[in-house]
């Protein structure tokens, strides 16, 4: 009886805050000898509380940083590190896509080939850390 009560209370409190959905996690194959790779994904925040992707790690990368490519008004591409992380406002989606925000994997320990999956640990300000699988594919 007590167990049933607890189960009902826990499931009733579930969802909403901090329940981010991460989808379409992918990266390009890394050109031979390339020292850096980019990973892309969609991070949806269905709750009302905003969250931030603070950092990431991966066993295949020496270091992982969060970056954004920005095209200025003269068609010059500038990449800058997002040291404050990537915000995911409540009820919105942070899109990490080519030409924009991405997770930068620095110091690859092997060439990434199509079909393989890379595990990346994501750390958030609010939500619990989670592991995601990044699929390596051509576009």
């Amino acid at each position: 009886m007590l167990l049933a009560f607890i189960v009902v209370m826990v499931t009733a409190c579930g969802d909403v805050e901090g329940d981010l959905t991460i989808s379409d996690t992918w990266g390009r194959p890394s050109p031979a000898m390339a020292q850096a790779a980019a990973f892309y994904m969609q991070i949806s925040n269905p709750g009302s509380t905003s969250d931030t992707l603070v950092s990431a790690t991966s066993p295949v990368c020496d270091t992982v940083e969060l970056h954004e490519s920005v095209l200025n008004d003269s068609q010059v591409m500038m990449m800058s590190q997002l040291e404050d992380g990537i915000d995911i406002a409540g009820d919105s989606t942070a899109r990490l896509e080519p030409g924009g925000m991405h997770i930068m994997c620095i110091g690859l320990d092997h060439e990434l080939v199509p079909g393989e999956t890379i595990t990346v640990q994501l750390r958030f300000a609010v939500a619990e850390s989670r592991d995601i699988e990044v699929e390596i594919r051509e576009n």
Binding site: E65, H67, M78
Partner: protein, 205 residues
């Protein structure tokens, strides 16, 4: 209610005229894609002079001679191998466009704006992983700066983190040289593989 009167010649012709106009409009609409000139997806230049020559070496070990590609198109891109997002995205799109066209007459050359880190070997491995036919081109800092200036390309090293070392901001535009060796088309970053293929095809025909 009046008796139905016999139709006048004008009344008989009216439906015929309308049908004729509609049929004509349909024919024009169907033919329009063939009759209309190709619309390029970037800035089109009309230069009388050949594309500016550059003093760079290709990953084939030869001097890059842009005048030797007559009858074929050349796609030049200024980038560097440490760039994980924009450069691979662009080169992957160009590679896809080339495969779509299935053409031997599309020559893609990435000029490195980071000759200090991009050794010829690294550069060669990098470009050929997008397509085995792709070439890299490199030179001294001076020669690289000269080449960039000739093509209106800006690039500048900027401090990154300890992990990345410096990053290089650079113009992300594709420079396309036509079959007569003239700089013809500037494609901005973000143009799709399909659009690149359509534009290259228009230049080849």
């Amino acid at each position: 209610m009046t008796d139905h009167e016999p139709a006048t010649p004008r009344q008989r012709l009216w439906p015929l005229a309308v049908t004729g106009v509609v049929a004509g409009a349909i024919v024009v609409a169907l033919l329009a894609p063939i009759l209309r000139p190709h619309v390029f997806h970037g800035a089109v230049l009309q230069s009388d002079s050949p594309a500016p020559p550059v003093n760079l070496t290709t990953t084939n070990g030869a001097n890059l001679d842009l005048s030797s590609y007559e009858g074929e198109v050349v796609v030049l891109y200024f980038g560097y191998t440490f760039c994980p997002d924009v450069c691979p995205t662009t080169l992957a799109d160009v590679a896809r466009a080339k495969r779509q066209l299935n053409s031997d007459e599309v020559n893609v050359i990435m000029i490195t704006v980071d000759p200090a880190r991009d050794t010829p070997e690294l550069l060669a491995n990098y470009v050929t992983s997008f397509d085995p036919s792709f070439l890299g081109a490199y030179g001294t800092d001076e020669v690289t700066a000269e080449a960039a200036a000739l093509y209106g390309v800006f690039y500048e090293a900027r401090e990154g983190s300890e992990a990345t070392g410096y990053l290089v901001d650079h113009t992300a535009t594709l420079m396309v040289i036509d079959t007569e060796g003239r700089l013809k088309l500037l494609l901005p970053f973000g143009v799709s593989a399909n659009e690149i293929a359509a534009d290259l095809e228009a230049l080849l025909n």
